[in-house]
Symmetry: C2
């Protein structure tokens, strides 16, 4: 069923000479299928097809785009067990996770379909003419959001379904009215091709123009570079490393026509444990966090890589407890030999830093590609002086910083780079005494969590998944939830435009019955 070819629109194509295979990290062996990397010619063909498709697709009604998205969800489910097995063989993740992530992916598609059917997301804003206004008559002005054009989506290594081929970025871009060209992630090219076939089947069934979706194979960085440079591409979505995301941002910024890049990148997701909470329940918190640090072998972008407390006996007790708990957990496999290799290397580098103390490092033999979890601790001063310690280590690793006092805690928070999340563990209303710490934290993160764990990103409208750089390249947008559609659209005004030629969203009669702002007032139909 897997051809190993690129989809240039709905046509399979493999003109290139560069081939590669995916890898099963559990079996520690290559998978069978051979994938052919897209050539410059194929990249060009995909972008041109998308540019042509955009002419039609941008005018497709919300209801029809909703049918398309729902059909993608249906087709993904139709692939059933074969897709789940391919996912597992290319990621090493267990079947439960595969099914859960598939459910999330299908759910995202259906959420956007519902958004489109409801229709108010275009933020229709109407200011009616005032022909008799003095000293100048006022024109009739009507504004709504329209799509940017073809969007390139980069598959993420750690979410082969939910942030890849038909994941959040793709669902949001297709919902917006933008054709999508996926740069498939090389670690799960087979999963990518299968999902791409589902998207294209859905496009055909619902009458979408050819070129609304393409899927390009790539083993290195060249296909991505060429795509982001291409003048026909109007925006980019990426989930992955800071180095990768920044490279794409730099390419996009240097274009003759710079384009928006939304990259969701690294984060250490600081967790602040306040003294009362530590006093009351150090053991329980340690147990919870041993689980959160190792969840999915630490391969979530919201993994808690940094835990901060104020130096005390109970903090020491917490560190010991967390260290004991974490080595009780059976090591698990990472996505790919390269990823476990990078993890071990980054961990080594961290452990070699002066002043860092290792309190847990799983030291029994592990199977190939399995990651050995570790907990470390460091004094606040040392952490402040050495920014190497601020960097993310992608994997089941966390560092507990022992701050001198609340002032140092605030200083450390304010010196951190931008983060996806910040968490506060607190008891008995002690939080109100730490308002400066919380303010500093709010200024560095996109989402703040009370008495929970950062792992687990709920897909709902009020979720902010993003944050100040380098958590994302543009903190003004989210990667998760239906509001993420705003990344791919722009406001557009019609001035004195004839009623009969206005889009339905802006006609006086409001035939789509959407919520609109009319003459400064929100009107619910």
């Amino acid at each position: 069923m897997i051809s190993g070819k690129n989809y240039i629109g709905n046509t399979l194509s493999a003109k290139g000479l560069k081939t590669y295979k995916t890898f099963n990290p559990v079996l520690n062996t290559e998978n069978n299928s051979t994938f052919t990397e897209a050539t410059s010619e194929e990249i060009h063909a995909a972008v041109n097809l998308a540019t042509n498709a955009f002419k039609q697709y941008r005018k497709v009604s919300g209801a029809k785009k909703a049918d398309f998205l729902n059909a993608i969800a249906d087709e993904i489910l139709t692939l059933d067990d074969e897709l789940i097995q391919t996912y597992c063989s290319e990621t090493g993740l267990p079947e439960g996770r595969a099914k859960g992530e598939r459910g999330r992916t299908v759910g995202q598609l259906r959420d956007f379909a519902a958004l489109l059917k409801e229709g108010s997301w275009v933020e229709a804003t109407i200011d009616m003419a005032q022909p008799n206004r003095e000293p100048m008559p006022k024109s009739d002005l009507r504004k709504m959001k329209i799509p940017l054009g073809p969007v390139v989506v980069f598959g993420a290594s750690n979410f082969a379904f939910a942030f890849s081929t038909a994941g959040g970025d793709t669902a949001a871009a297709l919902a917006a009215g933008c054709p999508v060209i996926v740069k498939s992630h090389p670690m799960h090219a087979g999963t990518g091709e299968m999902v791409a076939s589902a998207v294209l089947k859905a496009a055909e069934k619902t009458g979408m123009p050819n070129g609304v979706f393409s899927n390009l194979n790539s083993s290195g960085i060249e296909v991505g570079r060429q795509l982001v440079k291409h003048s026909g591409v109007k925006a980019v979505g990426f989930t992955g490393s800071i180095i990768g995301g920044r490279a794409l941002l730099d390419i996009a910024s240097k274009r003759k026509e710079p384009i928006p890049v939304f990259a969701e990148m690294g984060s250490v997701n600081p967790v602040i444990i306040l003294p009362e909470a530590l006093k009351n329940r150090a053991d329980a918190i340690a147990k919870t966090y041993a689980g959160s640090v190792t969840l999915g072998t630490g391969q979530f972008c919201t993994n808690p890589g940094l835990i901060l407390g104020i130096k005390s006996e109970v903090l020491t007790k917490f560190i010991n407890c967390l260290s004991q708990e974490i080595v009780k957990i059976d090591p698990s496999v990472m996505l790919h030999p390269n990823i476990v290799g990078a993890y071990e290397k980054n961990k080594e580098r961290a452990l070699s830093q002066v002043g860092l103390k290792v309190t847990a490092d799983f030291d029994r033999e592990v199977k190939p590609n399995y990651a050995r979890q570790a907990i470390t601790t460091v004094q606040g001063n040392t952490f402040l002086e050495n920014t190497t310690l601020h960097q993310e280590i992608f994997g089941p690793f966390s560092m507990v910083v022992q701050c001198e006092d609340a002032v140092q805690l605030e200083t450390i928070i304010s010196k951190l780079e931008g983060q996806l999340t910040g968490t506060v563990i607190s008891d008995n209303e002690e939080l109100i005494n730490y308002s400066d710490v919380i303010d500093a934290l709010q200024n560095r993160v996109g989402r703040i969590i009370f008495n929970g764990v950062p792992t687990g990103v709920e897909v709902c409208p009020s979720m902010q998944h993003g944050g100040p750089y380098p958590a994302s390249t543009d903190s003004r947008f989210t990667a998760v939830g239906v509001h993420s559609i705003q990344r791919w659209v722009r406001p557009f005004s019609f001035q004195d435009w004839p009623q009969e030629l206005l889009p339905k969203e802006l006609k006086d009669s409001n035939p789509l019955h959407i919520v609109r702002e009319v003459n400064g007032k929100i009107i619910i139909p």
Copy 2:
């Protein structure tokens, strides 16, 4: 009253050695005051003060920020005739324009004050907890917009009030909760200082933190460069040339922490005149456009620099008529000798292009700094081949392109760079026969106008002032109207946060009575 010094917060400072004066283009002589350019030390002091002020200002309530903005408007009006005279002496613009633009500026401030008092602009979104959800309980999530941090605003040469010191960018940033550092425009530094004094008086009267606003003098590009590079600056607003805006975007993109730059730059604002309209009223359209091309000596970013029609006798008649009408208009003064110099140079360069025919060039003697308006025409093929002809010529200049047919018209439109506006002049429902042309136009512009002129930008929520690059650096935002606040804010989520510590906008009780999205439904209180 004008000191020539910088405002570092509320302190006047002039530590530098570099000085300059502004110029009165009508009298063709320098004005009296001497301005001292800000030093690196002063730039640093202003940014640090803004960073500190942000800690408090970001938490100031909407109602109090509204008082601040209204107080700025009041203080600007208090400066009365002295301010108007300073504006006129530094721009050469007539008193009527000065008063009109002051009215617009004051109006913008009051619009944002009203937006803050109403409060719904934060887009509060709430998804309540579902503790019993299967397979996993759902957390309580609440999201709203929060400010980015200190914003640098560059004064625009052509709008000393409305797009400068306390203009749209500043009003939007202060409304958002961001401190503002203005890089004053050297051509109207005196107007800038006076308006800055009004802002600071208002800040003092309404109890805003020192550093919420600074005003820095600058005669060249160095102050702006240093500001955009400064790690304490979190966003940039600019109105001006493509070269200037792009230079700032490039600096911002190369920072360790890239920051958003919203630059509203050049545009030729294409106007399409369809055959029926030409047949019916070539004379009247010509008269209207002679006025629009020369309005404010062609110094509006929405100036119609490109007029497109399909080759015919009536188009020839229109060109003749427009040419006759435009030379009937008395030439007027430009803002500065440098600007009239650039206009004459750019016009020369255009006129020297092969195939361009000059049909009107005001040839009588004009006073110093007055611009001689011109109309030119060119065949569609020639225009398509020579992209030099696509460039904006800032001033009272326009070019009529004679297209072979509707297909060539569409081709030309689709090859244009991004534009602020596109206008269609059309009669008797002929528009429906040109849907491909209109689609192409919509894809290249931010606002589309029917049977009007692009000059005149209404300040209202449904106005889109921006557009695809290079009309702006980010087509997803507007520079005009209250929605422009979205440039300076980011979404922020609270997860399971205690009710008593949530911002008022997100509390269950909705004490501010704002419109919110709750569990997927828009709720009007």
